[in-house]
């Protein structure tokens, strides 16, 4: 697995894939994409990195523990659902910013929700992959 080319390539590819995943996440509301696919791309990027550099290095590169990623993803999704309760609206009601934000258009809690999905999916996939690779 310690192919120098792959190792170098992935080092360059990693930020690009992460950017692409963010792109998928942000455009998901209007075009095919979304948090789920975005999260999987993140996972794929780190999985490739791990294949090239080993499981320890992969974990180091990710910086946060995958389980924390899962937990925070769930927390963000839950929070986006809880926010409208403060406004007296039902759970998971979408709240939107009055003025469109640059780049993403309207900003609102559904986007936050999708961000939670994104983080959770990435964390979940990586948790499984790391654990399995560690076993091997």
């Amino acid at each position: 697995m310690h192919s120098l080319i792959l190792a170098t390539a992935i080092r360059l590819l990693l930020p690009l894939m992460l950017l692409f995943s963010l792109f998928l996440l942000l455009r998901g509301h209007n075009e095919p994409g979304g948090g789920f696919v975005g999260g999987l791309v993140v996972a794929a990027a780190f999985a490739l990195y791990t294949l090239a550099h080993g499981e320890k290095e992969g974990r180091r590169m990710l910086r946060v523990a995958p389980l924390q990623l899962v937990a925070s993803g769930l927390l963000i999704a839950l929070t986006s659902g809880l926010l409208p309760l403060l406004a007296g609206l039902p759970f998971l009601t979408a709240l939107w910013s009055a003025v469109p934000a640059p780049v993403i258009g309207h900003a609102g809690t559904p986007l936050l929700f999708d961000l939670g999905v994104y983080l959770l999916v990435a964390g979940m996939s990586l948790l499984i992959i790391f654990t399995l690779m560690e076993e091997n």
Binding site: G33, G34, G35, L40, V70, G73, G105, F113, D114
Partner: protein, 739 residues
């Protein structure tokens, strides 16, 4: 607990009930009722009438004696307090049953008596025999109890009320009701099991494993009489028909003879008494079955008299055991010298049991014969049965009340000694009461018996008891009975020899059933729950699909119009690729090839999604499929290779099942798509997506907004799946990792 304080409970109750004798004799009916479960029409309701009062006096009176007796008999028993508690609970349950004014109330207390008796019979739980007897009693009476439950519910539904007063006035309605016979059979099943009638009689002698005070209480005066009580209680509404007459007289007669015959074959005092109790219960059933006013009077009198002499005899048996160390009549004799008061009690009680003048038992027996002689059908046969039973009873009375106390001690190893007051007074009192009733039968008859008989007969019946009726056929039979009894007594060694070869009894049937049940259960269970997952899968899926197929074929109207096969070449190609992948996955013997085949199926499905306007689905499917393949490869190379484990035969069978499942699903889809399309929700989603959901990708808007709750659940599943993988593969160590 202080004995005095303890005794004050039953004595106080006894006194209260005694005060009610007057009012009840004048025809008053005391009733209280509180709603309990009004939604089901259940009330906690009590009524005090003549029948209940007679029982209540016996229950509280003998209960007090038993408590006093036990305070000496069990004084060094570690669980004496528990015993007193159980007895009081049992007494409460008994009172509740006999005073119940509502069917459900009656049933509840009925079941409680069974439960308390379980604890009492099994009081010496260290002994295997006690545990067995307790369990047997619980099971037999419990099973009967459930039949009774069905019976009373049907009874209540037929009448439209569970209130006893209403029911007791609905005799004509019930006797002509279409459910009369089932009700009768179910109620009798409850009564017969509780009152140890043939073929359920065996539990009663078995229950002699209980401590003697328990036997004295449960098996003379109280629990076993509940079945009799039940029949007496409902005889105004259920009695008087041919089925009632035949059922009760035949079962009663059989039980009577069986019990009496077994009694004289026994050498253990308690066993003798137990079997004579069975016999006496048979007499009572027989009398209730006859149902004439005379028979009813005889039954109520016999009931009271039996309770008195039998409790006395049981208590003396215990005293003999306590004072000499054995209850075997072959080893005993001459105890009258060491324990004269006990001997007096036993003698009086035995005379009453044998029906000797001037004791109450004599009056009962005279009435008994009078009733059988006037029986509604085959009076001579019934009288003959009664005669035989009574003769045997006389012999048994001599065995239990005469043999141990007179003559000389047979086993010189024994050192009998006097017993204290608390052991001889309780048996003496009921014995003396028997004598008292013999002297004042008229008052007893008027005050206690007549109100009870009126309840059982459903109408007032003149009760005129007298000790001496002059010379009549009944007296003649009585005298002959005594003679026959004496003769049988003198032949006792012969009968007791016979005992060496155990005769056949329904108990063996019970044993067989009880031993067979776990074996049968084990057989069935190890057949069904055989531990093999694939059989479970086959049964579960097979049943589901078979049911679906059956419904599919019965529910469809007309022939199936197959949708026209259309579609372009690449669509067909995709479909074929998917099928080929599935086929390859099933047939290949290489793990890697199987993973690849699975990938082919997955990607093929993704292709279908693309072709039919679902790019989001396709993207997700592609990603997931890829990730799945990685996971499969990571896991599979640690697992064994595929090997051929099944025989050709079972593979063929599985193929047939699998093809069956597949074809049912195919047909179902055909059916579904051939039905007209109903306007679905999607129009609304399409319209609202941009203005309300601020997104043009409707699928994504549904996922994160319209149906975000689904997605929240979905990501929770993912989180837990990840957690599960982590938890399963986390090495077992005391030290916790960082994630």
């Amino acid at each position: 607990m202080l004995p005095a304080l303890l005794l004050s409970i039953p004595l106080g109750l006894f006194a209260w009930f005694a005060l009610q004798i007057g009012p009840v004799a004048t025809g008053q009916l005391l009733q209280v009722s509180v709603p309990w479960l009004p939604s089901l029409g259940v009330a906690l309701s009590f009524r005090l009438d003549g029948l209940g009062l007679l029982f209540a006096l016996l229950i509280t009176g003998i209960g007090a004696l038993v408590l006093l007796y036990a305070s000496s008999y069990l004084h060094d028993h570690p669980h004496l307090k528990r015993f007193n508690g159980f007895i009081l609970a049992f007494m409460a349950a008994m009172l509740g049953t006999v005073l119940a004014g509502d069917l459900i109330t009656l049933f509840i207390f009925w079941e409680l008596t069974g439960l308390c008796s379980f604890l009492l019979i099994g009081f010496d739980y260290q002994q295997e025999a006690s545990r067995r007897a307790a369990f047997q009693a619980l099971l037999v009476t419990g099973a009967g109890g459930l039949a009774l439950l069905a019976g009373i519910i049907l009874l209540g539904q037929s009448v439209g009320s569970s209130d006893l007063t209403t029911i007791l006035n609905s005799g004509d309605l019930l006797r002509s009701h279409s459910l009369y016979l089932p009700i009768l059979i179910l109620m009798l099943a409850g009564a017969f099991t509780k009152s140890a009638q043939f073929p359920f009689h065996f539990w009663l002698p078995g229950a002699m494993a209980a401590p003697t005070p328990v036997s004295a209480y449960l098996h003379s005066a109280t629990m076993v009489k509940l079945g009799i009580f039940l029949m007496a209680r409902f005889s105004p509404v259920l009695g008087g028909t041919d089925s009632w007459l035949i059922c009760l007289t035949s079962v009663g007669g059989l039980t009577l003879l069986l019990g009496a015959a077994k009694a004289i074959q026994r050498t253990d005092l308690k066993q003798i008494l137990a079997w004579t109790t069975v016999s006496a219960l048979g007499m009572l059933t027989l009398l209730l079955g006859l149902g004439t006013p005379l028979a009813t009077t005889a039954a109520m009198l016999l009931l009271a008299v039996h309770a008195l002499y039998k409790s006395s005899l049981f208590l003396t048996a215990g005293a003999v055991d306590h004072g000499s160390g054995t209850r075997d009549i072959r080893r005993l004799g001459g105890l009258g010298r060491t324990m004269p008061q006990v001997a007096l009690a036993a003698g009086l009680a035995a005379l009453s049991m044998a029906g000797m003048l001037p004791l109450a038992g004599f009056i009962a027996k005279e009435l008994f014969y009078e009733a059988t002689l006037h029986a509604p059908y085959s009076p001579w046969l019934i009288t003959a049965v009664a005669f035989l039973g009574n003769s045997l009873t006389v012999a048994a009375a001599l065995l239990a009340g005469y043999l141990p106390f007179y003559g000389t001690l047979k086993d010189t190893e024994l050192h009998p000694h006097q017993v204290d007051l608390r052991l001889w007074l309780p048996p003496l009192l009921p014995a003396l009461l028997g004598l008292l009733i013999g002297f004042f039968p008229a008052a007893f008859g008027r005050l206690l018996l007549a109100p009870a008989v009126a309840q059982v007969a459903g109408k007032p019946v003149p009760v005129e008891l007298a000790l001496w009726h002059g010379f009549n056929p009944m007296l003649l039979i009585s005298v002959v009975t005594l003679g026959a009894g004496l003769a049988l007594f003198s032949l006792r060694n012969h009968f007791q020899m016979q005992r060496q070869s155990p005769g056949w009894d329904t108990e063996q049937l019970y044993d067989l059933l009880l031993a067979g049940l776990p074996r049968f259960a084990d057989m069935i269970t190890s057949y069904l729950q055989n531990g093999r997952l694939r059989y479970y899968l086959m049964i579960v899926t097979g049943t589901a699909v078979a049911l679906m197929a059956a419904t599919l074929f019965t529910s469809s109207t007309g022939t199936l119009q197959l949708p026209r096969p259309d579609g372009s070449l690449h669509e067909w190609l995709t479909a074929v690729i998917i099928l080929a992948g599935a086929l390859m996955a099933t047939l290949t013997d290489s793990r890697l090839a199987a993973v690849a085949a699975l990938g082919v199926v997955g990607y093929g499905v993704a292709l279908i999604y693309i072709l039919f306007g679902a790019p989001d689905l396709a993207m997700t499917q592609f990603c997931i499929e890829t990730l799945s393949i990685i996971l499969f490869v990571l896991v599979l190379h640690k697992l064994p290779r595929f090997t051929l484990l099944s025989s050709t035969r079972s593979r063929l069978r599985d193929m047939v099942i699998a093809l069956g499942v597949g074809s049912v699903m195919t047909m179902l889809v055909w059916r579904a798509v051939s039905q007209p399309l109903i306007p679905s929700l999607s129009t609304w989603f399409m319209e609202q997506s941009l203005p309300a959901g601020h997104g043009r990708n409707v699928v994504n808007v549904i996922l994160v907004d319209f149906r975000a709750l689904d997605t929240l659940g979905e990501i929770t599943v993912l989180a837990v799946a990840a957690l599960g993988v982590y938890a399963m593969l986390k090495p077992r160590s005391g030290k916790e990792g960082t994630d």
